[in-house]
């Protein structure tokens, strides 16, 4: 057994153990911290699968932004947990569920073991047409060119999620500013962190977006890092969360899918196909679309973490 195999097996055990902790931990907060740790370990696994783009997404969204969301929620829900009005499953039905879940896992593991060593692959096709897009990173090409429709609809899902979260506001708060990420009182250490981190993070976010054309990175990952920077600045109360009825905010939220959709329709008119890019102009078109996607992601993710409006709108 080589060192690499030993390392892989150790990593697999660690991931499984931390995952089991998030399920069986004694309290919700302990489980949530376990989940954050788990997210970071998953990026290591993705590196081992040579999916660096996915590792970057998992690092930024799976571990960082989700961590803020879940840890904040777990801390707020502590009182609900203390009430102890939950009814657990009885022993026999718990055992039945466990058996069922083991069966599902074993069946899935069987499928994994039966997979052919060289599966069907779209890699040759995606490399073949890569020069036409002007990109060097096939993952970005799949996201923005080959499967552009998917990516556009995924942006629509994000917009719908924001609408859903905002709709949970009490009537009198509709259009006001959200309050979840805001500290009760300013914490000087946090302000210090945010002041140093935010400029660097904005730089890294733009860098990750920009190199995404040719190397691992892209609009999602860059946008998520930018989003995290806005979140930390709001957490430190260096800036207040915006009013949810602000026109610029709503415009920024829909800009990504809107520009994407307009570009798709323009492709149908000028380039002979829905979401087709005109030859020679593909790279500028892709960068243009991606810029607005980064903007939308960088605004939508903080709004999702910030939760529904909790203050009355100013006139």
């Amino acid at each position: 057994m080589s060192v690499l195999q030993a390392l892989d097996i150790g990593l697999a055990f660690l991931v499984f153990a931390v995952a089991a902790w998030t399920i069986f931990a004694p309290g919700a907060f302990a489980a949530t911290v376990g989940y954050v740790v788990y997210g970071l370990l998953l990026s290591l696994v993705w590196i081992r699968l040579f999916a660096v783009d996915v590792a970057l997404t998992e690092a930024a969204i799976g571990s960082g932004v989700t961590g803020v969301l879940l840890i904040g929620a777990a801390a707020r829900l502590r009182a609900a947990e203390a009430a102890g009005s939950e009814r657990s499953l009885s022993g026999p039905s718990r055992l039945l569920v466990a058996v069922l879940c083991v069966l599902v896992a074993v069946a899935l593991a069987g499928v994994v073991l039966l997979l052919p060593d060289q599966g069907p692959s779209l890699a040759p096709q995606s490399m073949q047409h890569l020069p036409e897009t002007g990109l060097g990173n096939p993952v970005t090409a799949v996201l923005i060119a080959y499967r552009a429709f998917d990516t556009m609809l995924e942006k629509v899902v994000l917009v719908l999620a924001v609408v859903g979260v905002w709709s949970l506001a009490a009537d009198r708060y509709w259009g006001g500013a959200p309050g979840e990420v805001r500290a009760e009182r300013p914490e000087p250490t946090l302000a210090f962190l945010a002041q140093i981190l935010a400029p660097l993070g904005i730089l890294v976010g733009i860098h990750v977006f920009w190199v995404g054309a040719d190397a691992p990175g892209g609009a999602f990952q860059g946008g998520a890092i930018l989003a995290a920077m806005w979140i930390i600045v709001m957490m430190a109360r260096l800036t207040e969360a915006p009013q949810t009825n602000a026109f610029w905010l709503r415009l920024a939220i829909v800009a990504g899918p809107l520009v994407f959709l307009v570009a798709g329709v323009a492709g149908a008119i000028f380039a002979g196909g829905f979401f087709a890019y005109p030859p020679g102009l593909a790279k500028p078109a892709i960068l243009f679309i991606e810029t607005f996607m980064v903007l939308s992601i960088a605004v939508i993710l903080p709004m999702l973490v910030a939760g529904p409006p909790r203050r009355e709108p100013r006139q």
């Binding site: 970071l40 961590g67 009760e184 981190l197």
Partner: protein
Amino acid sequence: MTEFLLATAGVILFTVAVGLVRILGGPGDADRLMAAQLIGTGGIGALLLISAATGAHGVEDVALGLALLAAFASAAFVNSAAPAEAPDPADGR
């Protein structure tokens, strides 16, 4: 050399795992949050070593992203847990 890099990554992951066993269990939330900090530092170390050994490209950006977000869990905890009415005696406020 590749073996050395992988072996050290393994040792770091092992120490992280041992540390996690100790602090995920608590007793306090402060201990649990240290788990996020521990895996941040150790995970980034292991990540850099593994990528140097296996030659996966672009991994520095992953580590950079993780380093940027390393303090977020602690920040989120402090933000949502600080009781508004009890000022910290250490602040002198």
